[in-house]
Symmetry: C2
């Protein structure tokens, strides 16, 4: 995240803005250091189109209805395109799209379209729609909005949404606060389609809903955050500040760099008298905007992960296929920079060495370590350092199949490692070693643990290990959780084919929300003495088939857009690597989570069960995943389920060769 | 429906069929006039692959698992391709795909695939899968089936499904009987995807579920109907017959021409002794099969509708666009054959004429009738006959815009009508008549009432009508109902684009099931004095905008694949036309219902609410429909909703010019 500034707008009370004071307000906002001002497009006078007399008596309204008459000057606040680059327009709030009165419905629709047309003509940067009151139905509103939004080719369009529901509903249980607000947004978005350009202007309030409820908004296209002036507190120096909770929420939204709007319930003093006492005060920047800029500047210094993540957030990457393809040097270099991962490997090797009994029969104390998939050598270095710390002698073999990486380890041997390390150019699955190993060290894990075929590679390498030898890692477990992310789903949808819905992606998550905590789905252990005969290759790969059916309870209602995948691995005893959010190894950045999309998003009601069915399957040439998501509700059974994704690996698989 | 024969198979008890008696059974079935026999592919011996000792002790099973060993001879009932054209194979029922034991799961999958492979190798016409017991989970079964079905490129594949659930469940309330059976089928179909080639072999039982529950099967791909011998009754001549209820159900399925299977719980006497008393009996055809053929032959003589419908059933047709396109002569001819429609028009005109007061002031008694959209003249003939019956004088104007049809009415005037009829070549909306009409007669209705723009045409024609004149039809109402049809949805899906999901189709429904009775959604009345100034054209078409949000309660669970549309029309007072199933004008065939698909089928639980939101919208050039479907459950709110279909008429519309 760069430190460039955020955009903050000034939103005076809509009913106090008129064509007459607009220029003064613009000048005021500019003097106060705001980046834009929020103004109604129309004056209250325009409401006449809803309530004037019936047509035969009113030829003007008939003509308007037939599209033959435009705005009258008194209908408008924004009469010209002057300063339009400094203005965000708001749509009037008196339309009633779902009225029982057909004329009111029709005229509301025509009025909205006329306002959109005008906003587009003025080239406003954005327009904001009022939130439809929660007492009203939504279907015609959703329909009108969906069909009208294409009238704004260059102007952003935001629906104003309160983060808490109407006052009336504030008395409901804490769990339910702010629920309906999201449900109504979701209804509209669902009508418009997930690829709609409609965004959210989320309005904060003095009382905020629970984190769980707020969390859902991070999976939605929040483009604007509205902060009313009156939720600011005053600190002991007299300056406006936000409560800790509000600071936390605002900072969380700052990651998405939305526009901010400071809304005010009263009009500022607009007539500047050069000689008045107000001069000084008036020429100072807005303390509210200043405070937000201060919050933005003083975000936690970016950690290594965030530096690394810049540009990767919510970007869909294909997982690596290290068996099929040779990794590039830059890929190795990126991963070698991880400050935590190799610390953990070093610690694991050190502990394993210390646990080995020192021979008492006079034979020399030498532990044979084989690093399989040595790459450019970082695990060899770890092993050498570990041996030194543990004070034990080691003989290391470094096995690598990538001819380009092998060049590097040849240099390493020549310049650094010497006789302590034997380098071998071979695929670990087919290598015939001169002796057997005490410790087999590998780094073949993917974001989902087994998704880069660590199980198959280590099964093949296992015959180089002594009967009592150990593998680092000792095991790895895949974790899954149902997740919500309009952004990622829309990105996958944009490919417009089935293949991309049946492919997994490695993604640095940002605009997502987990509907439940991740749960383990399966585990792989090494060495695998049960399925693989001693000193042999496995006869088939059937023992690496896995499946699981995991049930989650969704605490809020939400849309499921797919499955988030993570792994935890035991390297050795209590030395762990984890990208599972609950146990994430602090500071480790080598792995982003994995995202398995589903074709059609599924709604889950609060308290509903989400069932994830997952398979890891194999044939003689490849490994692939299949997945399916269902929702169950007590008393109703399964209320919907996705189709089975990636049947037979038809869309995506990992090649064994 | 042609009278060609149905295919009936003989299904002996699976555990009694062996490689040894197979040929005798084939000969027996042939001698009994069956079209095929149903035999297990494998003998019970094959079950060994699930339960033999673990691998290290059993190299043969390890080899089998690795795909290196095939069937042993004793594993098979069907050992050769002899008579394979006469055999339907059944898959063994001991597989347990969702076992907790991973080995049982894997071996079940491998065994199924091996059987599919063999069935394909033998070129069997069909294979039948056992129904998974309802006590077991389905997810791995569904996954295995979905991925294996492609191994049967030429062989049909049917899942055996009981129409009633397991014995255990028969004690539940009548409403629930047979529910779970469909739910489980739906779960499997949902995994496989609606375009799967998987069909149903529906097994009837002595007790049948309610019509409502049975009805759902007509929307599913039932390819086989299994009738156990022991549900037949014996009539007083000693012959097997079915109960009235069973006859009714079997006849209903005969419309779909499925395969029938007569299943027997005991093996027939196979050793024929030429000199025994059994000879005569044994050489007679199966009385059960004979009875089914008798039911098939004696179906109700095909009515006019069915004759007309041959070839149209479940075929998606684009609705007519009579304003944009000129109808062809054959289209007119088809519609003119309707025996009911013109009877009703004649009656309506007669009643309207009789209701007109005879002038008492000495002016001549002449009623002016204008037929707008006269086509080839059938309504002119109706009006002339009606005048004769009513004993009133008429002066008729026949207005037609289609130059080809106009040729025909010129001939009609010359040869038949003479001075009583004035013919006018014009669009009714722009015609300037020499006098005004007492009665305006038109036949502009589409399957949805207003979908061929009758409202717009009659609005334009209304100025030719006297202030107290009447329109025949006086009004028409559109009806909608949520419907289920895998077939129609799969047909629309096969176009693989959004456009076809946002288009309505005129369809002679067959493989469909309504989830609730149709309800009215909007109405058009003529003449429309409220919105259209006297003797003028309407200023805009806004008054023909309609919308409705209709809620239905679904009495069973089901999948919604779209919306069925119908119309009812009052021609004059109590003279009606209707294609709404509940009030359908008997024998009238001019209109099939209309089908509005939805992109993603939605599941509705039993007792759930289905909300259909529907709009008829207009701009200056066209009229179009938009629609959306949602499901609500009490206490949960909306559990899912479709996107808004056909936004702004982007995929389909009806041109005004």
């Amino acid at each position: 995240m760069s430190l460039e500034s955020i955009q903050i707008g000034f939103m005076p009370p809509a009913d106090k803005v008129s064509a007459e004071n607009l220029l003064q307000l613009v000048a005021y906002a500019q003097s106060k250091g705001f980046d834009y001002i929020v103004s109604p497009i129309n004056s209250p006078a325009y409401r006449r189109v809803l309530f004037e007399e019936e047509e035969p008596q009113n030829p003007s309204l008939r003509a308007w209805r037939a599209g033959l008459e435009s705005f009258r000057p008194e209908d408008l606040v924004l009469r010209t395109a002057d300063h339009s680059e400094f203005i965000v327009g708001t749509i009037s709030d008196w339309q009633d799209f779902d009225s029982q009165d057909l004329k009111v419905r029709l005229h509301s629709e025509l009025a909205l379209k006329q306002q959109f047309n005008w906003a587009s003509h003025l080239a406003l940067g954005g327009v904001m729609l009022p939130y439809p009151p929660s007492s009203k139905p939504l279907s015609n509103y959703g329909r009108v909005l969906t069909s009208s939004i294409s009238m704004l080719p260059y102007t952003a369009c935001w629906l104003r949404v309160p983060c808490m529901d109407d006052e009336l509903e504030r008395n409901v249980a804490e769990e339910l606060q702010g629920m309906k607000s999201w449900e109504r947004w979701n209804t509209i978005l669902n009508m418009a389609g997930s690829q709609s350009k409609l965004g959210i202007a989320l309005e904060l309030s003095a009382t905020l809903p629970t984190d769980k409820v707020l969390d859902r908004w991070f999976a939605e296209p929040v483009k604007v955050v509205i902060i009313p002036e009156d939720i600011f507190l005053t600190n002991n120096k007299g300056y406006p500040v936000l409560s800790k909770r509000h600071q936390h929420v605002v900072r969380k939204f700052m990651r998405f760099k939305p526009y901010f709007m400071i809304s005010s319930s009263s009009l500022p003093k607009l007539t500047l008298d050069e000689f008045s006492d107000d001069l000084l005060e008036n020429s100072l920047a807005s303390p509210h905007a200043d405070y937000l800029r201060y919050l933005y500047r003083t975000q936690d210094t970016l950690g290594v992960i965030d530096q690394f993540a810049t540009g990767y957030q919510d970007y869909l990457q294909a997982p690596l296929q290290p068996l099929q393809d040779n990794l590039e040097s830059s890929t190795y270099e990126t991963f070698e920079k991880d400050p935590i991962k190799y610390q953990q490997y070093e610690l694991a090797v050190e502990r394993a060495l210390l646990d080995r009994p020192v021979p008492t029969d006079g034979t020399p104390d030498v532990t044979v370590i084989m690093v399989v998939g040595a790459g450019r050598g970082p695990l060899v270095n770890c092993s050498l350092r570990a041996a030194e710390k543990a004070g034990r002698n080691v003989r290391i073999y470094a096995v690598e199949k990538n001819p380009n990486a092998f060049v590097t380890i040849q240099n390493m041997k020549a310049s650094l490692w010497g006789d302590r390390v034997n380098i071998v150019f071979s695929d670990m699955r087919t290598w015939n070693p001169p002796e057997q190993a005490d410790i087999l060290v590998s780094e073949l894990l993917g974001s989902f643990g087994d998704n880069e075929l660590s199980p198959e590679c280590l099964d093949g390498a296992q015959k180089v290990l002594k009967p009592d030898g150990i593998s680092i890692p000792a095991n790895y477990t895949a974790f899954v959780a149902p997740m919500s992310s309009n952004k990622l789903h829309a990105d996958v949808s944009s490919f417009k084919d089935l293949t991309h819905f049946e492919t997994s992606y490695v993604v640095m998550f940002k605009a997502i929300s987990l509907l439940a905590q991740p749960k383990p789905i399966w585990v792989f252990e090494h060495p695998n003495r049960k399925d693989i005969p001693l000193n042999q290759n496995p006869l088939s790969n059937h023992h690496n088939i896995r499946s699981g059916s995991i049930e989650f309870t969704s605490k809020t209602s939400g849309m499921i857009h797919g499955i988030a995948g993570y792994f935890e691995s035991v390297l050795y005893k209590d030395v762990l690597l984890s990208i599972n959010p609950e146990t994430h190894s602090p500071g480790m950045f080598s792995w982003f989570p994995i995202y398995f999309p589903i074709k059609t998003p599924l709604y889950v009601p609060a308290g509903g069960q989400v069932v994830l069915d997952f398979w890891r399957l194999t044939d003689t040439r490849k490994v692939w995943y299949e997945w399916q998501v269902s929702c169950k509700v007590e008393g109703l059974g399964v209320i919907h389920s996705s189709s089975l994704h990636n049947v037979g690996g038809r869309s995506s698989s990992i090649g064994l060769y």
